[in-house]
Amino acid sequence: MRLDGRHRARLFHVVVGVGLVVGASATVAEIVNRPPVRLDDVRDAREGTVSRVQVLAKNYSEETTYCVEIRISALDGEGLDLQDEVVAEPRQGDGRIRPGQSVNFVAELDGISEQELREELDEFVAHVASRETC
């Protein structure tokens, strides 16, 4: 079926109109619906080629206690791994985070060479690999 100019214009405006509404709604939805457990900035210290990485996880929910698994990656400038991800361990307790509480998680990464540390390492990144109520 071939559309004439007027119908093409109508179709275009519908696509754009719907796109604008969906795009705006989805953006707002993403901003509003944030995960209950969120991580703070990642900090790191280095001894030789061993990097000790620490991140603070906070439970923003008001009622639910979460058990989380946090993993740490070492990335180069293009976002690619310099070594396999490492699971971070809670500094205190069993990794249970109660409503409103924060827990520090720490990991040690020792698979990065000195040259990679000097020339390629861009950042350490932490993420919540799993989150369960407990």
């Binding site: 796109g19 795009g23 944030r34 976002g79 690619l80 791994d81 390492l121």
Partner: protein, 732 residues
């Protein structure tokens, strides 16, 4: 007759008395000399760029949005890995599949750009891009993500070949480099979106960035839909004054894609530019990928410092792109027809020594300065080469030319990091760079040695082809245009203003019919004729208030057609419109001040000029704060004339000075006009009153039925004969 200058000296108007006609003495005393208006900042910016920058802004925005995604994806790699548990290989496939689709589809999109309505291609492509961004944000698995990325790659090429083809038709040929350089900044502006996207992704998740970036895409798509589609080759035909001829079809419109691409490649300048760009891309690609490592390895910068230093590439590139466009257009305007190739070639040639020094110096600050300069010269040629490519390709082949160039650049830039990596492994990174650096120089040398001689030939061939096509469609009209063009010189040393065959209609009523005349430099020239023959329209056309449908108006050799009125004032053309042309609700002071806007930042000159006007019209001194509408008719004309003088015109157009005024008032005003022409201002005065015209003018032009004929010096014109002629009778 016009009062002599020495008579003017007796008026007591100090600032007028001391002139030798055009001299510096006058200027030193803050007079009304036409030489005092600062015009050094003036650029002949045509209407499309000067007042309708919209298509350029919009297409640059489309470009910026389109490329932003290419930078966005790597910033969210960590987040994608987290959510989907992806390996590095999977992420690499995401990037590569996108680039592969872009590369494959760029060539067919080039054909689409040459065959279909370009504004619609951009609008649909950008809207589809927005839809695909939302799709990417909604992806729940790797396959869905991969499919959305590949779809995004399908829409990416809708922009570049199409936009460059459009810009070549929106804006005058003489400003093509500048326009392309502004468009080129879109690529660098796209980088600026990355921090926004990265911040959003970090704060609210990677999906929010994709959703959010779809919004500007939909907005610009909507705006692009409303852009008017210019006729293909419109500016090139306009450059040759063929725009009035019948729009001809081109053989390229129906040519098969393969033959059309062959035709593109058979254009020597295009091929030379392509080879040069390919070599430049090898170097550019290796710099982008390996420069941070070089900074870390040889200058002990941290990785984050090295990443920051790499932004110098963008800053230098932005500066280079803009500078090269301006320089190339200025040189072209100054009579260097191959300036676009020359600027690109010299810039690429300079890249070699600059990068050589960058890679060999041990001083980090010096290295960073050299790196910025080298980046400037590395990126500078791109925009001017885009303009040159448009010059040497037929308007119906430009989309395909741009597409071919984009594909070649992508392929060579993509392979460059690997090549440098191999060289670095075999030697050192520094040596690898030093091995590749001469490629930039070779790219420049190729342009200068092979491109310079072919460019003029290829450009002329396109021009001739356009003439042939137009002649095939309408031989009589084209031949008439060619004859007319040969008859009128582009720059005429004896005449300040040359009006050449202009037509103008008010709706269905045509007023000017191929009107031509040449106004000598200096003196006062009267244009007389019956009411309604087009005298005022002619003045309005010179002042830019109406646009002729065809023909040229050459002022100091500059074709004014398309130059906005306000810029004509900066050039030195001022119109004192007919009737009481004051702003009645504004004060006398404000009315006068409005006339001075070309130099409104020069308060000293403004004060001097206001003082000079008040010396000429002392009656206005006590009425500066009175609203102009409450003045008498004569005083209002003084304000109108004073306002015109505030601009320091080189060419003063006066329309019906005497209309509705008492003879004594008219005489006073005429005396001022006469004195002004004695100071070097060329005055053209339109008058219905023959005695008034003959009293002030040096030469007389007669206008009837839209045509102008010169009657010669006023001494040779008999008043009664002129009156009879105006009455429609043959002079006895």
């Amino acid at each position: 007759m016009r009062p002599a200058i020495d008579q003017a000296n007796d008026t007591g108007a100090a600032t007028l008395r001391v002139s030798d006609g055009y001299g510096h003495d006058v200027a030193a005393h803050g007079s009304l000399s036409p030489s005092r208006t600062p015009r050094e900042d003036f650029q002949v910016t045509r209407r499309l760029v000067g007042s309708t920058r919209w298509p350029l802004i919009l297409l640059t925005a489309v470009y910026a949005i389109n490329v932003s995604d290419q930078y966005l994806l790597p910033t969210i790699f960590p987040l994608l890995k987290q959510e989907f548990g992806l390996s590095d290989t999977s992420l690499g496939v995401l990037s590569s599949s996108y680039l592969a689709v872009v590369t494959i589809l760029t060539v067919p999109f080039g054909t689409l750009a040459d065959r279909y309505t370009r504004t619609r291609i951009i609008a649909w492509g950008t809207a589809a891009w927005g839809v695909t961004m939302i799709w990417t944000g909604m992806a729940r698995g790797y396959i869905s993500l991969l499919a959305s990325r590949m779809a995004l790659g399908a829409w990416d090429p809708c922009d570049n070949p199409t936009s460059q083809s459009l810009l070549a038709d929106y804006y005058p040929v003489g400003q093509r480099s500048k326009v392309m350089s502004v468009y080129q900044t879109g690529q660098l502006i796209g980088v600026l979106f990355v921090p926004i996207a990265a911040a959003m992704a970090t704060q609210w998740g990677w999906r929010s960035a994709f959703y959010f970036f779809s919004l500007p895409a939909f907005v610009v798509a909507l705006l692009a839909w409303r852009l008017s589609e210019p006729v293909r080759g419109e500016q090139d035909r306009r450059e040759q004054n063929l725009d009035g001829a019948v729009q001809p079809p081109s053989a390229y419109d129906t040519m098969g894609a393969r033959d059309a691409y062959k035709a593109v490649l058979r254009t020597p300048t295009f091929t030379v530019a392509l080879v040069s760009s390919a070599l430049g891309s090898v170097f550019f690609g290796s710099i982008g990928a390996w420069a941070p490592t070089f900074f870390v390895r040889y200058h002990d910068l941290s990785v984050s410092q090295a990443a920051t230093a790499l932004t110098l590439l963008a800053v230098g590139g932005l500066t280079g792109a803009l500078l090269s466009g301006v320089i190339a257009d200025r040189l072209t305007y100054s009579g260097h027809p191959s300036a676009r190739i020359m600027v690109a070639g010299v810039a690429r040639l300079l890249t070699f020594p600059l990068f050589y020094l960058t890679f060999t110096t041990g001083n980090t600050p010096v290295m960073l300065v050299l790196f910025s300069l080298a980046a400037l010269t590395l990126i500078a040629p791109q925009a001017v080469l885009n303009a040159a490519r448009a010059d040497v390709l037929h308007p119906s082949l430009r989309g395909r030319g741009t597409a071919l160039d984009a594909v070649v650049q992508s392929v060579f830039a993509a392979g460059a990091p690997l090549l440098l990596g191999i060289l670095a492994d075999a030697t050192t990174l520094r040596t690898g760079f030093l091995i590749l650096a001469p490629l930039a120089g070779i790219a420049g040398a190729i342009l200068l040695v092979a491109g310079l001689p072919t460019y003029v030939r290829d450009e002329r061939r396109v021009r001739e082809l356009l003439v042939e096509e137009a002649r095939a469609a309408d031989p009589d009209a084209v031949d008439a245009i060619l004859v007319r063009d040969r008859a009128v010189p582009v720059a005429d040393p004896d005449h300040l203003l040359v009006i050449d065959g202009i037509d103008f209609s008010y709706g269905a009523i045509q007023v000017l019919f191929g009107t031509s005349c040449a106004i000598p430099r200096g003196g006062c020239h009267a244009l007389v004729g019956r009411n309604g023959v087009g005298k005022s329209t002619l003045l309005n056309a010179v002042a830019g208030l109406v646009d002729p449908e065809r023909g040229r108006i050459l002022y100091e050799g500059i074709d004014l057609v398309g130059v906005p009125p306000e810029q004509r004032v900066r050039l030195g053309i001022t119109l004192m419109a007919g009737g009481r042309s004051t702003f009645p609700s504004l004060s006398v002071h404000d009315n006068l001040w409005i006339g001075s806007f070309p130099f409104c930042n020069d308060h000293k000159l403004l004060g001097e000029r206001l003082g000079a006007v008040l010396e000429v019209f002392p009656q206005l001194s006590s009425r500066l704060h009175q609203t102009a509408g409450t003045l008498s008719g004569g005083e209002q004309q003084m304000v109108a004339l004073g306002r015109a003088l505030m601009a320091g015109p080189q060419l003063l157009l006066v329309d019906e000075l005497s209309l509705g005024l008492a003879p004594v008032v008219t005489r006073d005003l005429l005396e001022v006009v006469g004195r002004l022409s004695g100071l070097g201002t060329t005055v053209v005065i339109v008058e219905q009153s023959v005695p008034v015209a003959l009293e002030v003018a040096d030469t007389v032009f007669f206008m009837d039925r839209g045509e102008v004929s010169s009657l010669g010096p006023v001494a040779d014109v008999r008043e009664d004969a002129l009156v009879e002629r105006m009455m429609g009778r043959s002079p006895s």
